[in-house]
């Protein structure tokens, strides 16, 4: 039974997931942003303590997301002005 389960799990990696091109698909950037923030801070913090690491990573994650939102808003406004 465990071997069957293992093959079932491996089989899910042989066919792509269904992702619709809708606004909700933009949420896929959040795990990626979290990964970037965690790895970057793990490599750059001189003194590694769990509390400080989580705080720094959360700040970087928030900064990246905020910058992405501002960029999207500016591009959306430009597109709206051009297409008026």
């Amino acid at each position: 039974m465990p071997i069957t389960n293992t093959f079932i799990i491996l089989a899910t990696f042989t066919s792509p997931e269904q992702i619709c091109p809708n606004p909700q698909a933009m949420l896929w950037l959040l795990p990626l942003t979290a990964a970037i923030a965690l790895v970057y801070k793990a490599t750059k913090m001189p003194k590694f303590t769990t509390g400080a690491f989580l705080k720094e990573a959360a700040i970087l994650f928030g900064s990246i997301v905020a910058f992405l939102i501002i960029t999207a808003w500016v591009l959306f406004t430009l597109a709206w002005l051009i297409s008026m």
Binding site: T12, A25, A35, L38, Y40, A42
Partner: protein, 135 residues
């Protein structure tokens, strides 16, 4: 870090660099930075697995008509990507649309994060300290 002879130092750098490529975070583990090693291993492995799950193993295509920057970034992942590429060569696992793009982005980012870790662990092994931004 204890002073090492020049030959031992080069061996350490090679070992740490190679281990980091083979297994994300392994270089930090060798240098006794276990918390960093665990975080890096879990994060990079999860990012790579998410990309492979969303886009399927078909997104790793190192011989097909994929842009060079995608291939270079994906090769920076641990060598399991090379094994998958050998398995998917020939276009047996076609992927199109958003799953292809999201899967490629995730696997590229995991590869580039692994490259960042390799460069950083080599720097740590060479200098004996973490350099901060701007140093």
């Amino acid at each position: 870090m204890a002073r090492l002879s020049k030959q031992n130092h080069i061996q350490l750098l090679l070992t740490v660099g190679l281990l980091s490529w083979l297994l994300p975070g392994a270089g930090y583990f060798v240098l006794e930075e276990k918390k960093r090693a665990i975080i890096i291993f879990v994060t990079i492995t999860l990012t790579l697995c998410t990309g492979l799950y969303v886009g399927s193993i078909g997104i790793i295509d190192l011989v097909g008509p994929v842009p060079l920057y995608v291939k270079v970034a994906q090769v920076m992942n641990p060598p399991i990507v090379l094994a998958i590429s050998h398995y998917t060569a020939g276009g047996g696992y076609p992927v199109y649309g958003w799953p292809n793009e999201i899967g490629q982005i995730y696997t590229m980012v995991s590869g580039l994060l692994n490259l960042l870790c390799i460069v950083n662990v080599l720097s740590l092994a060479y200098l004996g300290k973490i350099t901060q931004e701007g140093e």
